[in-house]
Amino acid sequence: MNVTVVSPPVSPTSVSRWHSGRPWLGTLVRLGLAAVWLVAGGAKVGDLAGSGRAVNAYDVMPYDLAKVIGAALPLVEVALGLLLLVGLATRLAAGISVGLLVVFIAGISQAWARGLQIDCGCFGSGGQLAAGQSPTYGPEILRDLGFLVLAVVLVIWPLTRLSIDSWLEKK
């Protein structure tokens, strides 16, 4: 299968530089996204009940469902981080990352639109803000958009250096 690179016609040297550099760049992106999930999940696994309350604070589902999602989410995040770290099924992991991030951005946006005063709980904590604290929805959404870009890059170019995927590809 030929890999078609979507880029404007440029001089042959820069094309070959792109070809040799891209998989390494991809490795950086993959490890970066892995770190995001590992840190986000790791900060929450110690307090699964608290994670459920953070989900509940978004006020979009019954508490019993929020509790289950809040408990499952940190472990799924850690698992996603591990898959990306070793580079197994990168395209799938990146695709699921895209889905999760879109859901997170939607959740924060609706909280913002409804004027809820909550902490996003993205990296632990979460829940309603104390009196006098103001929400930081804008920066939270921008940050998630940045992560979304990383995930999309990996969906488009999943094969990166130092990954199980590319090792299997060569075999």
Partner: protein, 232 residues
């Protein structure tokens, strides 16, 4: 076209087909493996939280019927106060509004249900929220919930600290007249399952932060004025 070229071409077609087939099955298997990892991770989380939930609790005497809080007074209007013993805003609220609540109770205007929940266990290194709430349950058993809660807020530890030790919790209990049964209940963590119940029930009732104040079931700003206005 010579036969040799044709053979080469045919061989390449076969090779490509085999390679495609291999790639397809590899993608299938890595996908199955990855999905399995994610599903198992999610199920582990679910299993852990379900295990935490299944504990049975004993509500202390003085608790409301469903065990979600301690009722003080018999006034007609019910005020619900959701507090966490380490939450700084709750400490401030107690300082500013605690006396008003006691007065409303004394005047027979309102009854107050205190829900000492543990949202902020991660704010201390020793799960102070849970330990303090469980100790307040033990104080309720000794008939001194309100006195004890006030004393705890008066000596509220800072967020991010280790909180008060069990010995300190017991000493504060003795200072308000609680005895050995109280001390034993604190040491045994007798009311910790009750704290979990109070916390979970509050979340189920839509409480997402502390202090939360409800008068006759409606959210009210946690200020003296707002509460007095709502009670009427």
């Amino acid at each position: 076209m010579s036969t040799r070229v044709g053979q080469k071409k045919a061989a390449r077609v076969v090779r490509d087909q085999i390679a495609r087939e291999k790639r397809r099955s590899r993608t299938l298997w890595t996908t199955i493996a990855a999905v399995a990892v994610l599903v198992i991770a999610g199920l582990i989380g679910w299993g852990l939280i379900s295990a935490q939930d299944s504990g049975t609790y004993t509500a202390p005497p003085g608790a409301v019927e469903d065990g979600t809080g301690i009722k003080v007074g018999t006034g007609p209007v019910q005020i619900d106060i959701y507090e966490d013993f380490i939450c700084p805003a709750c400490g401030t609220f107690e300082k500013q509004t605690g006396d008003t609540l006691d007065r409303l109770v004394a005047q027979g205007k309102a009854s107050v249900v205190y829900h000492p929940l543990a949202f902020l266990d991660r704010a201390s290194s020793t799960d102070y929220s849970t330990r303090a709430s469980a100790a307040s349950g033990a104080a309720a058993e000794g008939g001194k919930f309100r006195e004890y809660a006030k004393a705890l807020f008066a000596q509220q530890p800072a967020e991010g600290s280790a909180g008060l030790s069990d010995d300190q919790l017991i000493a504060i209990g003795r200072s308000v007249g609680l005895g050995d049964a109280f001390a034993q209940a604190v040491r045994d963590g007798k009311y910790k399952p009750w704290t979990a119940h109070v916390t979970d029930a509050a979340s189920g009732d839509g409480v997402t932060g502390t202090p939360t104040v409800r008068v006759a079931g409606k959210d009210v700003q946690p200020t003296t004025q707002a509460i007095q206005a709502a009670v009427g």
